[in-house]
């Protein structure tokens, strides 16, 4: 910028010029000590394949590094989950590595708060605690079966009193439980949106709460415009017009908790059509008759009133479901968020089964009723890691909290999860944590949970560390992800798992490996012995190279036929399950339904300390750096508030205040609050930005699976003092409308 400097400086005394020019002298060229010999070109940039760990979706990514620094993250084009794409949160990880607030030294809580201690001392303290605990300890992570959980299980798993639990994203557990009774094997539903012509999304906010917004984004793109002659059509049913609903062709504002009723009503019409048109010859006719009888009470005329729809609209929804086969039904957050979630999911899976049987003869749609291959693979990898596959549910977490309260544990390890912030206040995690004598938080940042812990261990960022992982949600093929370090650790951090291994060794406990890297390599070996589908033609070294080069292993041909899936049996006796129980609500006397929702940027709150994510406008409100509550303009008018006015939302568990964003795409009896705001101890950018919606929630659970029913809360809303300027993204709203959207 020499010319500009000239304009700026011409008025300044000339002596300053010499100083400016001399500053060049201080510039250094620092070459490598040894040239990387793998054909790398580190000065232009090298791409390393690894796995994104911002959420548990398990997207394969490639990372550009220049001179040993992370520059850019892109999707791995060969990976079946990410398909070469990445989401905003994945992109932002490139900046998080160099976050100025990353923890760099172990800290021990003393009388005057945290005190930095050396790594040797941390290992000493930890090993002493390991000896004293005698197995009475718990391990809590974010629900991932990764190297750290494998190492901890290998050390402590066999001891009495050890409990391992996962603080998983809400909803996944119910998704896993749904549809189980429909077939003779357990499975995670995987609706094939890619090849569908018509899709009904039952409260499925697939772009916000996933699982895997990137995978679903790709599936949606394929469905909508991926084929030359077909434009996929989507219908969204749910109380709020989410960003996912925005791309759908139609939005049906169904009352909260009634999606099961709508599903069964559509199913009733579909079954009738199957009978009258003699479709789906593979279904036994007597089964059809039984279903028809069982579904009689869900005839559109009988349920239309409680769904606040016209009966003919339900019929019009069912018709394309048959005619425009292949069609799919996708269940999501608004199904899994209610106490009748598993029942509704069963219904959705039933609808999918009907759709598959209708389209079976003519369509190349994936096998509808097969065990999810990754469920099987996950179990295998869990076997290779030696971890408890079932440890991820909310029930286990609730049991763990109960145990903590009763003093069953003398220590606990909390690994990269923030339950003090992101579990409902009704669970009382923070109170229970205080009853555990010694808690270790392994984390990159100081957060609400680490602040409550006794010892904080700064871990490597996942871009600097070794691990393995399996996607939480998977596209019908088994995927084994490798997470490899793409740069040397930038700060003075240590791998949390390495520290645990070192402390366990010092405490004379049996350890599975000396380092995490060795453990990962051992796991790969064990996994290969377990995994029949893995390429046998590669020797161990070649397979390791394959993993490093591709960031994991999956069948090369991403076709469902190629996946090693045993065929299963559909239980045609599936009849008693065709019920949609009344939804139950916590605080039922309150007038408004609380609708906590995930945004595309914040996750469960992890994104809140990223400048990029805070400044990226929310898709619906376009708000930046800001917290809000959405309500229908009619509701806002009734409360006497306008945009930016503060309201107080309260339940029996707590209350929050938030500025109002009137939004036409929400039912008048619902208020929607984004998850992930309201940090109190998560750094400069996150702290004090809004309030935490989790403080309003009790720990209401699904009646069947025991999963957290995170949308079954009713609340009071009243006008509060004050006003806030809403920071909407500025644009000339409406100006292009006529041009762009005319048909």
């Amino acid at each position: 910028m020499d010319r500009r400097s000239f304009l700026k400086l011409s008025g300044v005394a000339a002596s300053a010029g010499a100083v400016g020019a001399c500053s060049r002298a201080s510039q250094k060229v620092i070459p490598f000590v040894e040239t990387p010999n793998d054909g790398a070109n580190p000065v232009d940039g090298d791409w390393y394949a690894t796995t994104c760990r911002e959420c548990n979706a398990g997207c394969g990514i490639i990372v550009r590094t220049v001179n040993g620094r992370v520059k850019k993250i892109e999707g791995n084009a060969m990976h079946p989950v990410s398909r070469g794409k990445a989401c905003a949160r994945g992109q932002a990880a490139a900046q998080t590595v160099y976050h100025p607030e990353r923890l760099t030294s172990p800290m021990l809580k003393g009388a005057g708060g945290f005190e930095a201690i050396g790594w040797d001392k941390a290992v000493d303290i930890l090993s002493q605690r390991f000896t004293e605990a005698e197995g009475k300890l718990f391990f809590l992570n974010n629900g991932a079966n990764d190297a750290a959980s494998g190492i901890v299980s290998a050390i402590f798993g066999k001891m009495d009193g050890f409990v391992s639990a996962g603080n998983q994203e809400p909803g996944f557990e119910t998704l896993r439980a749904g549809g189980k009774d429909l077939a003779s094997f357990p499975r995670m539903p995987f609706p094939d949106l890619d090849h569908a012509q018509f899709a009904i999304l039952f409260g499925a906010d697939i772009f916000e709460s996933g699982p895997s917004p990137v995978f679903w984004g790709g599936a949606f793109g394929e469905c909508r415009r991926g084929r030359a002659s077909v434009r996929g059509r989507l219908v969204y049913a749910g109380p709020r017009l989410s960003a996912t609903a925005a791309v759908c062709d139609l939005w049906l504002p169904i009352p909260p908790g009634r999606l099961g009723v709508l599903t069964l009503s559509v199913a009733q019409v579909v079954v009738d059509i199957i009978i009258t048109r003699k479709l789906a010859s593979s279904i036994p006719r007597n089964a059809l008759g039984r279903w028809s009888n069982a579904l009689r009470e869900y005839e559109p005329e009988k349920v239309a009133a409680q769904l606040e729809m016209m009966p003919e609209h339900i019929r019009k929804l069912a018709l394309p479901f048959v005619d425009e086969s292949p069609s799919v039904a996708i269940a999501g957050a608004d199904v899994t968020g209610h106490a009748n979630g598993v029942a509704a999911l069963d219904a959705v899976e039933f609808l999918n089964m009907l759709s598959y049987e209708i389209g079976r003869e003519k369509l190349r749609i994936h096998e509808r009723l097969t065990p999810e291959p990754n469920d099987d693979l996950k179990r295998r990898i869990a076997g290779a890691l030696g971890v408890d596959h079932e440890a991820q549910g909310f029930s286990r977490l609730a049991d763990l909290v109960g145990g903590m309260e009763q003093g069953n544990f003398s220590m606990g390890i909390i690994h990269h999860t923030n339950p003090v912030f992101d579990t409902p206040s009704g669970l009382k995690f923070k109170e229970a944590m205080a009853k555990v004598g010694f808690t270790v938080a392994v984390s990159n940042f100081m957060d609400e949970t680490a602040a409550e812990a006794t010892l904080v261990l700064p871990d490597h960022h996942w871009l600097e560390a070794w691990s393995v992982q399996t996607p939480d949600f998977v596209p019908g093929v088994p995927v084994f992800n490798l997470q490899q370090p793409v740069i040397r650790p930038f700060f003075d951090t240590r791998s949390g798992a390495d520290i645990i291994l070192a402390a366990a060794t010092a405490a004379k406990l049996k350890t599975p490996a000396a380092t995490t890297e060795a453990f990962v390599k051992g796991t790969i070996k064990r996994f290969r012995a377990e995994m029949h589908g893995a390429p046998v033609y590669l020797d161990d070294n070649a397979f390791n190279r394959h993993l490093l080069r591709n960031g994991g292993w999956w069948p090369e041909q991403i076709e469902t036929e190629a996946a090693p899936v045993p065929s299963g049996t559909v239980l045609w006796e599936y009849r008693d399950k065709l019920k949609a129980p009344e939804p139950e609500f916590d605080g039922a006397e309150n007038p408004f339904y609380l609708h906590p929702f995930q945004t595309v940027h914040m996750g469960r709150g992890q994104g809140a300390n990223s400048g990029w994510l805070q400044e990226a406008p929310d898709p619906i409100t376009t708000l930046m750096w800001q917290f809000w509550v959405e309500m229908n303009p009619a509701t806002a008018a009734k409360l006497g508030v306008v945009e930016g006015d503060m309201v107080k939302i309260s339940s029996a568990h707590g209350s929050i205040t938030a500025p109002v964003f009137p939004y036409k795409g929400i039912r008048p009896d619902v208020v929607a609050v984004p998850i992930g705001y309201g940090h109190t101890n998560y750094g400069k950018l996150a702290n004090g930005r809004g309030e935490n919606v989790m403080t309003l929630l009790g720990a209401k659970r699904d009646t069947v699976s025991g999963a957290l029913a995170w949308r079954s809360q009713k609340v009071k809303v009243e006008k509060a003092e004050g006003r806030t300027k809403m920071l909407r993204n500025a644009h000339p709203e409406g100006e292009y409308k006529g041009e762009v959207f005319q048909l």
């Binding site: 984004g217 017009l241 898709p619």
Partner: protein
């Protein structure tokens, strides 16, 4: 008026016939789901600064690519639509004619160029842009140690007082051409992807050479769904949009 029209014609179509490459971007509005991956991807690739809450309140945020959101209709018949908006690289760009120092001009490959070291910050171009896609650096960008380690070495960090905007990831185009030259060939369709197109999960953004009649962008631009924004202003954008469709299920 006649002369003006002639000049527009000459300016807008000359480069297309005389050069190998004429870059163009097609955005399928029917695919865009507003997720904002492109916004953050662009920020990461191009060293775009964040300005913080206070400056956002003064509408000084710098995203080269933003997603405009339109809410139409009344409850319950509400529609929300998204439209990604970045520099349209107009063939006859209103910004180019007002720059007193030629810091913005049209390059032979059909791109609207912003030369940072020429810019003196009059902000005329930003005022004259009908799409409001030029961003002014009100402050020196904030990349304190250690955040600066992430900065892309291929893109200069802009300082206070100059205009910046989408370059269609010029550094990637250059690298793509460079690789093609090394291999002694022309750039193939799909070789070059700007950061937004590469990251877009739904595949809504396509980039390519519209002079190549076999390219995806050429086919999409002639698909009948293609429109340009503010066509009546005669800006001839290189970015084209594919109209969204609606076919309601009910009613």
């Amino acid at each position: 008026m006649r002369i003006l029209k002639e000049s527009i014609k000459v300016k807008s179509f000359n480069y297309k016939e005389q050069n190998d490459y004429s870059w163009s971007m097609i955005i399928d509005l029917d695919r865009c789901n507003g997720c904002g991956a492109c916004v953050v991807g662009c920020q990461a690739e191009n060293n775009v600064a964040t300005v913080g809450e206070e400056e956002v309140g003064r509408k000084r945020n710098m995203h080269w690519l933003r997603i405009e959101r339109y809410i139409e209709g009344e409850y319950p018949d509400v529609k929300v639509r998204f439209l990604p908006m970045m520099c349209q690289h107009c063939a006859s760009a209103p910004c180019e004619s007002v720059c007193p120092v030629y810091a913005t001009y049209h390059n032979p490959e059909g791109l609207n160029v912003q030369v940072y070291n020429r810019c003196i910050g009059t902000r005329f171009c930003g005022n004259n842009c009908p799409y409001s896609v030029r961003y002014f650096n009100w402050f020196d960008s904030s990349f304190p140690e250690p955040v600066n380690n992430q900065l892309n070495p291929d893109v200069s960090v802009r300082e206070r007082g100059i205009m910046e905007k989408c370059s269609m990831c010029m550094q990637r185009i250059r690298r793509g051409k460079d690789t093609a030259k090394d291999e002694g060939r022309e750039v193939k369709d799909g070789d070059i992807q700007p950061a937004c197109a590469q990251t877009c999960p739904t595949g809504a953004i396509t980039f390519g050479n519209i002079n190549d009649h076999e390219s995806k962008v050429y086919k999409m631009a002639h698909s009948g769904r293609a429109i340009s924004l503010f066509e009546e202003k005669g800006t001839h954008p290189a970015v084209k949009y594919l109209k969204g469709g609606t076919n309601d299920v009910i009613g």
